[in-house]
């Protein structure tokens, strides 16, 4: 084999590898086009997609029927985003920090040992302190139940998380007056305590005890 032939062989090999790499890259880019970019634009969950697609539909309709209103609405929405940008980012960063530093295991152990009406109320109020979305919080509440918490305590925690949702306060301050946010939290705490006590009382009755119990 001459040097020229050897070089030609290596060059052909190099071209083949280049083609394979380009093919793989192309495939990867196609995959990114089809899934990641779509998810990034429209959202991964149905709730997110409903909002994004509704906005697209509403603005398409507005542009076709009343372009001036469409322009004004878009300018108003983008203006609000500009004013709220650092606030929204700060809210998400706070939520992320709280999720990261939360002592999940210690919390679960602690609540698992809590009992009586005080334990159920405490579970509800602590549920209200849990930050983040349900995908992060529900496993914690499940973990609390697995570590020995009673069924009413677990349900109170679910209710407290839903009603109080202290993690929603920063977002609330972004869009509403402080007194509305405060009123929401005060109402939510009172409602959580009342519901937790009701759950405890109901669990003490014969019929309520059957319903408010873990299934075998």
């Amino acid at each position: 084999m001459t040097v020229r032939e050897w070089l030609a062989g290596r060059a052909a090999q190099g071209r083949a590898v280049g083609r394979a790499v380009r093919r793989q890259l192309g495939r990867a880019l196609t995959e990114i086009d089809r899934t990641d970019v779509f998810n990034l634009l429209v959202g991964r969950q149905w709730g997110q997609r409903v909002v994004v697609l509704s906005a697209v539909a509403v603005f398409t309709w507005l542009v076709l029927t009343d372009p001036t209103a469409a322009r004004e609405s878009a300018a108003s929405g983008i203006g609000t985003f500009g004013r709220m940008f650092t606030l929204i980012l700060a809210s998400l960063l706070i939520a992320s920090a709280l999720e990261t530093v939360l002592p999940r295991d210690a919390l679960a152990d602690w609540l698992g040992e809590a009992a009586g009406p005080k334990g159920v109320v405490l579970a509800g109020l602590l549920g209200g302190l849990l930050p983040g979305g349900p995908y992060g919080t529900y496993p914690i509440i499940r973990g609390v139940a697995d570590r020995g918490a009673s069924y009413p305590a677990m349900l109170a925690m679910l209710i407290g998380y839903s009603v109080i949702g202290l993690g929603r306060v920063p977002f609330g301050l972004a869009f509403f007056d402080a007194w509305i946010v405060l009123a929401r939290v005060v109402i939510a705490v009172v409602v959580t305590i009342i519901l937790a006590l009701l759950l405890y009382a109901l669990a003490g009755t014969e019929r309520g005890g059957r319903v408010l119990a873990f299934e075998e």
Partner: protein, 170 residues
């Protein structure tokens, strides 16, 4: 004219509390737990990237609601003139809104600005938190159907009662 400082830390006291609170929290975290702080920043930024179009869409929808729906119509259905029924309807409607607070709060704020009363806004916020139909699929992943159904069965009447209370008090 909005100053650069207002743009960065917000023009209202509530916004400033959140922005400066985030700075203080991360200042403390970086000083004491730098690894956790870095992870939290990364997670927060990834979340922001994922939610970017959602936040924009929600803000655009909120401003479109103000433009599209006549204030008189919203006042008539959800405002104080609608009576306790309007406030209860607001609470139940809030419970059906999908997405996180970054998507739903601008919509509720838009409805409020378009003519719904303060009571309706409060009831919507309570209903959104208590009922949260969008959380049902997550609930079914981690809990049994009975637990998810019980949560809703408690949340709906609680929202109705609280909405009536809000109407009477506000």
């Amino acid at each position: 004219m909005t100053s650069l400082l207002d743009l960065v830390v917000g023009s209202g006291p509530g916004q400033r509390v959140v922005v400066l609170g985030a700075i203080a929290l991360y200042g403390y975290l970086f000083a004491t737990r730098p690894g956790d702080a870095t992870a939290a920043v990364r997670n927060g930024l990834v979340l922001f990237g994922r939610l970017f179009t959602l936040i924009i869409a929600a803000l655009l929808l909120a401003s479109a609601v103000e433009t599209l729906v006549p204030a008189a119509a919203i006042r008539g259905v959800l405002g104080e003139a609608a009576g306790p029924g309007g406030t209860v309807l607001s609470g139940l409607l809030g419970g059906t809104l999908p997405g996180g607070p970054y998507a739903v709060y601008p919509l509720i704020s838009g409805v409020g600005a378009a003519g719904a009363g303060v009571g309706a806004v409060l009831a919507m916020l309570i209903g959104y938190g208590a009922i949260g139909v969008g959380r049902v699929p997550y609930g079914l992943v981690f809990f049994d159907t009975k637990t998810v159904a019980l949560r809703l069965a408690i949340a709906v009447p609680a929202t109705v009662v609280v909405s009536v209370g809000v109407f009477l008090l506000v």
